[in-house]
Assembly symmetry: C2
């Protein structure tokens, strides 16, 4: 007898802290609501996955394709000095990969962004153009 | 006329802070000399690469294979609670990917390890068994 797996759903903390950009073949792309940094998160839509190695090998390969696609778009949109890419998940166990555009002198530079400074709200009308630029550059179907 | 690329060599800071474990097809694997955390770094042997997206696509795919191989070994050796995988490089520009075995209650938990606590020296004879376990588990040729 087949046991139906629980369906995937976005962790409540990621839901609260982000806006949805769109779905890539494996992952949901989210924009983090923190005006300190252009910051997105990829969340593979696989229920129960907490580590990259919880994904099957073809999914790991697809994840790298999506990381590169999103990182290239973020670099092209922001002209950043450095990209930071990380799967940490010590607080939110659902597998998610941060892709952050860093600039020399930004609010946390040269430290990593996690826990460095309080999130800064976006001014009205500032987050939407970022999301639109991501959608246009990544080329969501 | 072809311009010869500079040969790859390990960044002096990585050289100073780590011990070599061995070479995978793309990356050199290093063990970080910090007894606070079982912590390794993968350094793709590609001169001038600073970002994952500086690698060609087949190299990006190979990097994911090596990340997964090393992460699985680290989890199996340490029985850790969480893996942290990250390409940051704000301080050392040479592309390098951290793979850290985290345990609830470790010296930085639940914060990321970078800049959290000063590096702790290994006691005599403690680092070598870790390196040997990595070599045996990963199965270097």
């Amino acid at each position: 007898m087949m046991i139906a797996a629980s369906p995937w759903s976005l962790h409540s903390r990621l839901e609260r802290d982000t806006m949805s950009v769109g779905d890539l073949p494996l992952s949901r792309l989210l924009a983090v609501i923190d005006a300190n940094f252009p910051w997105v998160v990829l969340v593979p839509r696989r229920a129960g996955a907490s580590e990259i190695i919880d994904l099957a090998e073809p999914e790991q390969a697809q994840l790298m394709i999506e990381i590169a696609r999103v990182a290239s778009a973020l670099k092209s949109i922001t002209g950043c000095d450095k990209l930071n890419v990380a799967a940490i998940g010590n607080v939110v166990p659902q597998l998610h990969i941060h892709v952050v555009a860093r600039r020399v002198g930004d609010a946390a530079w040269p430290k990593p962004v996690w826990g460095a400074v309080p999130a800064k709200p976006y001014a009205a009308g500032e987050l939407e153009p970022f999301i639109t630029a991501l959608r246009d550059t990544i080329g969501f179907a």
